[in-house]
């Protein structure tokens, strides 16, 4: 397959963005900066502010588009500008990035759907293999027959071959778009996949554009071998006002939109400082709204009485603040709690039941593992040998080891050391039975220990202890073992 240079391809598309400079591979080699971010400030955005333009599209549809894309007109306008007229070639690949819930997928998919452009939207998380990705793309663009042409375990060149084949039968009248969500997963697939997709337009010789969506910046994508630089497009976070506008959209039909937006205003006042994630905020809004409306239901307050409503909801929001991001209680349970709570009972969330019941020896094995992970091996003599002879305090407490082992995290230790410590901390004589060993491996499956390096079992396996100090303190309290006395950090 012949690879043409980008120059040829650059000729084919006509940019409607006079102020944006594109760097092709050639120019990149010459002048250094790799790719450019399309900015939304300055001259570009001022032109966009007037609204969305798309040639050959009725104004009414554009208006409905604008309604569906609140607070993202600028970005949508830029995108439309890049896409150009339907029959024109588009820039081969566009990379859109921005934090979670900034409307990346929403904007691009809405645009493509509303304007009825041929496109394939694939989430990379679903594609356990590249084959699935190819199949879904072909399926969406050309129908089921084309996907059947792919051989088993197709490679990128198979995909390109099949694409060319079907493309020859159905030549593109409009630009075809391939949208890949969570594109960061492409990096874990075959090495040639990402560079190949970026140049797909050249490879298949068709009017096709690949749009990659990710939460990660492009710098983390760039392969070592270099590749075609896509057009970078950043979706900034929503501002507070924008959040207010968006959240107000899903108002409850049984109340006026004004009430709901005043509710959202209160909510944002409380949570905006700790949480700007649209999804989380929406979740919180849905959780607490019924509580907010309670005085209205009871007839204690009118909709206009914002102050009273605020007084009523504020303590509940404060309480919800403790569990932001944690999702400790399911939304249904939260609702129930709010229904029947009278006093501030402690939330019986997921973390409330951190206590784990373990068999007696498992507890000691875990304690031994913890000691082995957080004590330097040379101090074992001091802690576990009865008559450890003279070990000078100064030499024992080496001052240069200022850093606490607990800050450094657990260190790996061999099985032998674990067992030696285990036998010296457990108070009775324990036979080295098979079940003691199997307990070690069950601790590993319970993720209380982790095995370091997947070596052969015969070859002295190494472990790390994966529990916290609080957890081990609770465990050792149940077997009345004073673990603090045995920890080097606390001596």
């Amino acid at each position: 397959m012949e690879l043409r240079t980008t120059n040829i391809c650059m000729k084919n598309f006509k940019s409607r963005l006079p102020d944006v400079t594109f760097y092709s591979r050639e120019s990149e080699a010459a002048c250094g900066p790799r790719g450019s971010v399309v900015g939304f400030s300055g001259s570009v955005s001022e032109k966009m502010l007037s609204g969305l333009h798309y040639p050959g599209c009725p104004e009414a549809r554009l208006r409905s588009l604008r309604e569906k894309l609140p607070c993202r007109e600028v970005q949508a306008g830029t995108l439309l500008a890049i896409m150009g007229e339907p029959e024109q070639y588009c820039y081969p690949s566009i990379f859109i990035y921005g934090h979670r819930a900034t409307g990346k997928s929403h904007v691009i998919l809405t645009l493509l759907k509303e304007l009825e452009l041929p496109h394939a939207a694939v989430s990379c998380v679903e594609c356990v293999s590249a084959g699935l990705l190819f199949e879904q793309t072909l399926l969406a663009l050309f129908g089921a027959d084309s996907a059947a042409l792919l051989p088993r375990l197709p490679s990128l060149s198979d995909f390109v071959r099949v694409y060319r084949q079907v493309c020859a039968q159905q030549p593109a009248k409009q630009t075809r778009y391939i949208v890949l969500e969570r594109a960061e997963l492409l990096r874990d697939m075959e090495a040639n996949l990402l560079p190949g997709l970026l140049r797909l337009q050249e490879l298949v010789d068709d009017n096709v554009a690949v749009i990659l969506l990710s939460e990660i910046v492009w710098d983390k994508f760039r392969p070592n071998t270099g590749c075609f630089e896509p057009l970078l497009l950043h979706f900034p976070d929503y501002t507070k006002a924008e959040l207010l506008q968006i959240l107000s959209l899903d108002s409850n039909p049984s109340y006026t939109p004004e009430l709901y937006s005043s509710y959202i205003n209160i909510l944002l006042g409380v949570f905006y400082s700790v949480c700007r994630d649209l999804r989380e905020l929406r979740h919180l809004a849905a959780l607490n709204f019924s509580k907010f409306c309670e005085p209205l239901e009871k007839g204690e307050a009118k909709e206009g009485n914002t102050h009273k409503l605020w007084r009523n909801i504020e303590p509940h929001l404060k309480r919800a603040m403790q569990t932001v991001y944690l999702r400790e209680v399911s939304s249904v349970q939260w609702g129930q709690q709010q229904m029947d709570e009278k006093e501030a009972t402690a939330l019986r969330g997921l973390s409330a039941l951190a206590h784990v019941e373990l068999p007696y020896y498992s507890k000691f094995l875990l304690i031994a593992a913890y000691l082995a992970s957080y004590n330097p091996a040379r101090t074992d003599r001091r802690f576990f040998v009865k008559h450890h002879g003279k070990m000078k305090k100064t030499s024992f407490l080496k001052k240069h080891e200022k850093t606490s082992n607990h800050l450094l995290g657990p260190k790996p230790f061999p099985l032998d050391r674990l067992l030696a410590i285990f036998y010296s901390v457990v108070d009775s004589r324990v036979a080295p039975t098979a079940s003691v060993f199997s307990q070690i491996s069950s601790l590993v499956t319970l993720q209380l220990l982790t095995q370091v390096g997947h070596d052969d079992q015969l070859d002295t396996p190494k472990y790390k202890c994966a529990v916290s100090l609080d957890f081990i303190l609770a465990i050792s309290r149940t077997v009345s073992f004073d673990i603090v006395r045995y920890l080097y950090d606390f001596i």
Partner: protein, 716 residues
């Protein structure tokens, strides 16, 4: 086998057809080749019957224990299903429409027991909620691909086999592997539900009681063991399809619910709507099992204290697994019926009488040799003794009588044990143990009333206030009520009398108390300055207090407690004192421990350092710590390697080995080639070193090329 041939050689013997038949059937194992008692088959049958009963009882028990949690889980799933359908009209449920309902089922660390719970859960689901439930295990889902494949296979595979009988045009699994994605599942689900709807168009429920669009329940059996990446991706994918597929997850969590947060990042866990379900703790579970299986006179088979101790300690110290406990019980049962010929008498009343009649002469001899029976004989009149030692028939008669006595003993033992436990379980510091099994074990081992703990428990009981005591006695009376034996009935009668007397006490107690004079010994004390004098007075005062006139309540309390003490003394005697207890009690705790809690490392070390222990060859018998030079090569090599440090020089090792082996060959120590390494010795040495390597004692090391590293610690 003998042959008439004079010469040595190989002879073929065709096995006789009769012998070949012998190999079938498990019961044959009970009939030893050189059968000394003919009742093997009967013992096997009794054992089988008993085990079936025990198994059934435990299963019923398990179901009862799980009932509550499973029911709430089912309710949750049903509720979620309904909310899937009402999604569009309700604002609140529309707001959380993108969340996948998830049940976090916290089951405790006894992972082997979970299988049964999940089995009954999926049975329940299949019966009442949805035909679409899949359970997946971590070990079959190492990658996302595998997980998807399992889920699709199990969901669609079942559906296909059902549908294909009716019509050919039904859905069939895609031939190509490539398309194992949830979108395929979506299409499949749509077709299946459409078909359901077509079958019963007029009703919301189809004929088998399922809702119109039954949910798809995915059960993750061992949540912790899953690869976090796989789970995260799977949840993300499912979330994309939640509007088309009513998915519900069940996480089987072994440790604590917070592992959900450890394994799933916020971006993923925010897609779930998690509800928590906590199962019964396994210690409670064990207590119930012991209560129903061990502390009952229902089963004739019993465990001695030591055996029970072994089983309980394996449970508490090692695995927390009730299933393993029951397995241990099964092993004890088998061992008992296998090793004790007289266990033929260990069965129900009628059967036991029948079997006692049929005892052979050999069996009767065995009965005579039982220690408990010998003790019984010694207590009899001389004439009776002669009878017992000579007449088989008389022994059989006596056996029946003694077995009856044993049954009676059990019928009285368990109610009284429960009474004593209910009285002492609320005492501070639990002198007789918190759990009834502890009390049971100490009663099995010795006369419980002779222990200090019993003494202190009784003293504490004598300090109880009236309402507490009466409440405790009421509880005892409740326990005794179902008792059928005469002794239990009379004990119940007396106990109720005491309770009535306590109640009658109320009216008169105040008057009697006020009439009593309280002497104040304080003033006498002040005069005394001498220490000796002081001690004497104090002792006197103590004595006088004891003789001090007691209130009627105190008198009655003492009387009641003496009555209870009497009950304990007469009914809670250790079973060892009962004649013929060997028939019912399994006592070899060592065997059980060896089987259930094996020590492979110790066994290997014993085999290597004391080859005589397993080989039983007289030549290998040596003093402790030494190995005969005639021992197998690996033993010699092992012994030599023990004397080395962490790194072993192979050549030195070989030299030492050659010397030892030469001595074994009986060569002259002064000869020229003594201790020389020839090819044979070299090969033998290399072989045994590689055997040691295989067993995990040494491994090759990169530090020094001609050295191996020791993997066991200790050494010189």
């Amino acid at each position: 086998m003998n042959t008439s041939s004079v010469s040595k050689g190989c002879f073929v013997f065709k096995p006789s057809s009769k012998k070949r038949k012998r190999t079938v059937g498990i019961d044959e194992y009970f009939v030893d080749g050189n059968d000394d008692c003919g009742n093997g088959r009967e013992r096997f049958n009794i054992c089988q019957k008993l085990w079936e009963k025990i198994k059934m009882d435990t299963e019923i028990l398990q179901d009862e224990l799980n009932e509550k949690i499973l029911e709430s889980l089912l309710d949750f799933i049903k509720k979620c299903t309904l909310s899937f359908q009402s999604r569009t009209d309700d604002w609140a449920s529309r707001m959380r429409a993108s969340e996948i309902p998830t049940a976090a089922l916290v089951l405790g660390v006894n992972v082997p027991d979970h299988d049964m719970t999940f089995q009954s859960l999926s049975d329940l689901l299949k019966n009442s909620v949805t035909p679409f439930s899949v359970s997946v295990q971590a070990k079959e889902c190492t990658a996302l691909k595998n997980l998807m494949q399992r889920v699709l296979e199990r969901l669609m595979g079942v559906g296909v086999s059902v549908e294909e009988d009716e019509e050919d045009s039904g859905i069939h699994l895609p031939q190509k592997r490539v398309s194992c994605s949830i979108s395929v599942l979506c299409q499949w689900y749509k077709t299946v539900t459409k078909k359901h709807a077509m079958k019963s168009p007029d009703k919301t429920c189809s004929e088998n009681g399922f809702l119109q669009s039954p949910p798809i329940v995915v059960i993750f059996k061992d949540f912790e063991a899953f690869n976090p990446r796989v789970l995260q991706d799977f949840i993300l994918i499912c979330n994309r399809y939640i509007h088309e597929l009513p998915l519900i997850f069940v996480f089987g969590i072994a440790t604590s619910p917070s592992t959900v947060q450890h394994i799933l990042p916020h971006s993923v866990s925010s897609l779930l709507c998690i509800e928590l379900f906590q199962s019964l703790s396994c210690t409670q579970h064990l207590a119930t099992v012991i209560d129903k299986l061990i502390l009952t006179s229902q089963f004739p088979f019993k465990l001695t204290g030591k055996v029970l101790q072994v089983l309980v300690s394996i449970f508490l110290y090692h695995d927390f697994s009730v299933r393993n406990f029951v397995k241990g019980l099964q092993l004890a049962l088998l061992e008992h019926f296998h090793s004790q010929p007289l266990s033929v008498l260990c069965c129900k009343k009628q059967e036991a009488r029948h079997n006692a009649q049929k005892l052979s002469h050999k069996d009767v001899e065995m009965v005579r040799q039982l220690p408990s029976f010998m003790r019984y004989v010694e207590t009899q009149e001389p004439q009776e003794q002669v009878q017992l030692l000579t007449s088989d028939d008389h022994v059989k008669e006596v056996c029946q009588m003694l077995l009856k006595g044993l049954r009676k003993y059990h019928k009285n033992y368990y109610p009284i044990l429960r009474c004593l436990h209910s009285l002492t379980a609320s005492l501070p510091k639990y002198p007789l143990g918190k759990q009834i099994r502890e009390l049971h074990i100490s009663c099995l081992e010795k006369n419980v009333w002779e222990t200090n703990e019993y003494e202190s428990a009784m003293q504490l009981l004598r300090l109880l206030a009236k309402d507490e005591l009466v409440a405790a006695l009421r509880k005892c009376a409740d326990i005794l009520k179902p008792g059928k034996t005469k002794k239990m009935k009379s004990a119940l009668q007396q106990l109720e009398d005491y309770i009535i007397r306590f109640e009658q006490l109320d009216g008169m107690s105040i008057e009697t108390l006020s009439g009593e004079e309280i002497t104040s010994p304080g003033k006498d004390l002040q005069k005394k300055t001498d220490l000796f004098q002081l001690q004497k007075t104090l002792l006197e005062m103590k004595g006088s207090r004891r003789t001090k006139k007691m209130s009627p309540f105190e008198i009655l309390r003492n009387e009641t407690l003496d009555f209870i003490d009497g009950l304990v003394r007469s009914h809670l005697t250790p079973p060892e004192l009962q004649p013929l207890n060997e028939v019912c009690y399994y006592s070899s705790s060592g065997v059980l421990r060896r089987h259930l809690n094996a020590t492979p490392r110790t066994s290997i070390q014993t085999a290597l350092s004391h080859p005589f222990y397993f080989l039983q060859n007289e030549n290998l018998k040596t003093d402790a710590g030494t190995v005969s030079s005639a021992a197998p090569d690996i033993c010699i090599v092992y012994k030599l390697h023990l004397e080395c440090g962490r790194l072993i020089n192979l050549y030195d090792w070989l030299e030492a080995y050659a010397t030892v082996v030469s001595a074994a060959e009986g060569k002259d120590p002064d000869a020229e080639d003594y201790g020389k390494v020839d090819e044979l010795k070299h090969a033998r040495f290399i072989q045994s070193v590689s055997e040691l390597e295989f067993l995990g004692f040494v491994k090759s090391t990169k530090q020094k090329t001609d050295h191996v590293a020791r993997l066991t610690w200790g050494g010189c």
